[in-house]
């Protein structure tokens, strides 16, 4: 139900089977207004292995997507179908904007090259002369000492030692080379690649406001099986009770159930949605759930979905502490 004052539905960009949110404002809205946290999965191309601090985009769990679209808090965007070819005019405008940027860069570079080198004030000049004289005196002292001890001073005039004692010739040659080489030529111009394609003039999002529409278009088909529907029902029931939900993989369940924002609270429960016919559970699973929950100071929450009534019933499991 959207009211006149409700925020506009958040666009969820579907890429393959992944539901992504790219706008930082939308991510904040989802978390603070809709209690949907998702997981940040963005990393740096140059440091792809680091996973301590991740950024945009936000990856939404499938049950989170279903809940948001069902409550009309979000719409699904078919990314692959949202970039029609630009019109001739749009292309001309884009190309001429690029050319203009190159021209601006060249003008700036020419202005930099024409600028005279900075002039040192009297004070700065005097200090530089003193510094150089001091260096020369120190070097002369070292040479005298070396000569006293019968050794040759291996430094060159800048006080730099060759890298290897047995290859003074090669080292000297390398030094000469690096001094004589011309600096690398500046590239002719830089090309700016915008980090978001949503700002391109010909971006036309193909959106779907209902799960049914997305399903018949083949964009989003979750949930399909009875087990998946049970998971969505359990997620919804827990969310409607005011909880925050996070991924439960680390604790052997479907979700972690938090009493408040996960940044501020520890979770009290690990929840598992029972997918079996009539919500069957084996005693071995009860033992595994209960033991794991107790070891981590949480209780395990079994969620059973009655397909007929649509009701979800909950049972909390804990080790009995005796026996």
């Amino acid at each position: 139900m959207s009211s006149p004052h409700a925020p506009a539905p958040v666009p969820i960009h579907i890429s393959g089977t992944q539901a992504l949110v790219w706008s930082v404002d939308d991510i904040a809205t989802l978390r603070t207004q809709h209690r949907i946290c998702g997981s940040l999965v963005g990393t740096l191309p140059a440091a792809a292995q680091q996973n301590v601090f991740l950024g945009v985009p936000l990856l939404l769990a499938r049950e989170e997507v279903v809940l948001l679209v069902e409550r009309q808090l979000a719409v699904l965007v078919d990314e692959r179908a949202s970039y029609p070819a630009p019109s001739a005019r749009q292309f001309q405008e884009w190309a001429s904007a690029r050319r203009e940027e190159v021209v601006q860069q060249q003008k700036q570079r020419e202005a930099r090259e024409r600028r005279p080198p900075p002039v040192l004030g009297e004070e700065a000049l005097r200090r530089r002369e003193e510094r150089e004289a001091r260096r020369e005196r120190e070097r002369a002292a070292r040479a005298a000492k070396a000569a006293e001890e019968g050794e040759e001073l291996l430094e060159d005039k800048d006080g730099v030692l060759p890298q290897e004692q047995d290859q003074p010739a090669a080292a000297a040659a390398a030094l000469d080379k690096s001094k004589g080489k011309a600096p690398e030529k500046d590239p002719a111009h830089w090309v700016t690649i915008p980090s978001s394609s949503l700002s391109l003039p010909w971006y036309t999002p193909r959106t779907y406001a209902t799960l049914a529409a997305a399903r018949s278009a083949g964009l989003w088909t979750y949930p399909t099986t009875r087990g998946e529907r049970a998971k969505c029902a359990a997620f919804r029931a827990l969310w409607e009770r005011g909880h925050y939900l996070g991924p439960g993989l680390k604790f052997g369940g479907d979700w972690l159930v938090y009493p408040g924002d996960p940044l501020r609270y520890h979770s009290h429960f690990v929840a598992t949605a029972l997918a079996g016919r009539d919500g069957t559970v084996r005693p071995m699973e009860v033992i595994a759930f209960g033991r794991l929950g107790t070891a981590t100071k949480k209780a395990h929450l079994l969620c059973g979905w009655d397909e007929g009534t649509g009701q979800v019933s909950f049972f909390s499991i804990e080790w009995a502490n005796f026996g």
Binding site: R241, V257, H268, F269, L274, G276, D278, G279, T280, V281, R282, P283, M284, V286, I287, G290, G293, T294, K297, K298, A299, L301, L302, G304, S313, F314, F315, S316, I317, E318, W319, A320, N321, F322, G323
Partner: protein
């Protein structure tokens, strides 16, 4: 008394014959609760909706009676069945213990509460 019959047999005998499928788990659990866990005031309640007898007694250092529902490791339980246990016993229990018996007669007990019940701190 017949020397070949276990002293605890009399207390559980009627329900062992009524529910033969769960006889083993009821028998083992009863003996464990009585002798090893040392609960007191034990009685066996017939709960047809769960297809077995359920043990009610008082844990050491407690006052109010609690329930132990025995089951076998190989059984398949359902939440409907669990709900029936809560709904058909009066007064409606807040929690029950599930006593899971395996074929080597080890028993583990897990506490089941209906609803979202926070773990104690």
């Amino acid at each position: 008394m017949d020397a070949n019959v276990h002293p605890a047999f009399d207390a559980v005998k009627p329900l062992l014959t009524k529910y033969p499928a769960t006889a083993a788990s009821l028998y083992q659990t009863y003996n464990d609760i009585l002798h090893a866990q040392q609960w007191t005031d034990l009685e066996i309640i017939d709960v047809p909706q769960s297809g077995r007898g359920v043990i009610r007694g008082v844990k050491p250092k407690e006052e109010l009676p609690k329930l132990v529902v025995p089951c076998d490791l190989n059984e398949s339980l359902s939440l409907g069945w669990l709900s029936a246990v809560f709904d058909s016993i009066s007064p409606t229990p807040v929690e029950v213990y599930l006593g899971i018996v395996s074929s080597d007669s080890s028993i583990v007990y897990y506490r089941l509460s209906k609803g979202i019940v926070k773990p104690p701190m």
